[in-house]
């Protein structure tokens, strides 16, 4: 295990996840009636890491990505918001991967929906309101569709990147 190579590798992964998060900001809204819906593109990197490098690198890159993107492009409130989404999404994906009854597509769908649910739960907590059910319904549908696409992308990358490129 070469330390500097693995530092470089996880640095590149974090940078890629950040770029995907930024691309998402630039894209036009998927569903203008409910703003704030995102595809969850950075999840491609997180799913890849989870399957090819295990839970710890996936957690590290995901949390770093959320912290850096929030610091660069938004505020502390948004950090809290997306951090809760990222943590719930990681938890769900790690557990489902361990249980091993879904493919990468199913796992990334669950991760995408959990990301949205985590954010809404945090919003309910912050605003002391339970009246966000409407958002939950819409985000479950969009999160499922986006999760299928991201899972298909992710599973291609998981299968195609040769292991020798990941040997440090």
């Amino acid at each position: 295990m070469n330390k500097s190579k693995s530092v470089a590798f996880f640095g590149v992964c974090t940078a890629l996840a950040m770029i995907l998060a930024y691309v998402e900001v630039l894209l036009p809204p998927i569903f203008p009636a409910v703003p704030g819906i995102k595809m969850g593109l950075p999840n491609i990197i997180i799913v890849f890491l989870l399957y090819r490098r295990g839970p710890i690198p996936a957690i590290a890159v995901s949390l770093l990505r959320v912290a850096l993107v929030s610091m660069l492009f938004s505020n502390a409130m948004a950090l809290l918001y997306s951090l809760s989404g990222a943590i719930l999404s990681l938890l769900v994906m790690i557990i489902l991967r361990k249980l091993n009854f879904l493919s990468t597509v199913g796992v990334s769908v669950a991760g995408g929906v959990a990301h949205n649910v985590g954010q809404i739960l945090m919003a309910m907590l912050l605003l002391e309101t339970s009246e966000l059910f409407y958002y939950l319904v819409v985000l479950t549908v969009t999160g499922t569709i986006a999760g299928i696409l991201i899972g298909l992308c992710g599973s291609l990358i998981i299968k195609r990147i040769p292991e020798r490129l990941l040997k440090f």
């Binding site: 703003p35 009854f101 493919s103 769908v109 966000l132 409407y134 479950t140 549908v141």
Partner: protein, 131 residues
């Protein structure tokens, strides 16, 4: 090679489909509940930071400036039986681009300014006056 074959079995793919269909079914029931079985409300409730700020009728056309402290402002407009946020000082503008709400239980949330606008139904209007 780690787990290269872990996710390509037929059983996994079948489970995926069951899982995705179940999720979409749950969402469909939720959507049916929200959009079909629920009528329009008649009252708009505004809370700021979890505390009730004001209650307005959905049947009157009003413009209300909601002051949320620190100079922040959300302008709520009720017109033609629908409520929407016209302007807001929040950085994301999510509340302003939200579509107008009128169904019972629908809400517009401004997370940065901690404002929640919710449509509810109160029984204060006598039912035989409606239409």
């Amino acid at each position: 090679m780690i787990n290269m074959k872990i996710d390509s079995t037929k059983k996994h793919n079948r489970n995926d489909i069951i899982f995705i269909v179940a999720l979409l079914l749950i969402a469909t029931f939720g959507a049916l509940y929200l959009f079909v079985f629920r009528d329009g409300g008649n009252t708009v409730k505004v809370t700021v930071d979890g505390k009730t700020y004001g209650v307005y009728s959905l049947n009157e056309n009003i413009t209300e400036d909601i002051h949320t402290g620190n100079g922040n402002l959300n302008r709520l407009v009720i017109r033609d039986g629908k409520a929407y946020m016209e302007t807001a000082t929040c950085p994301d503008g999510i509340c302003v681009s939200h579509k107008p709400i009128f169904r019972d239980g629908e809400s517009i949330v401004c997370l940065p300014n901690k404002v929640v606008v919710t449509v509810t139904t109160t029984d204060t209007d006598s039912p035989d006056v409606v239409i």
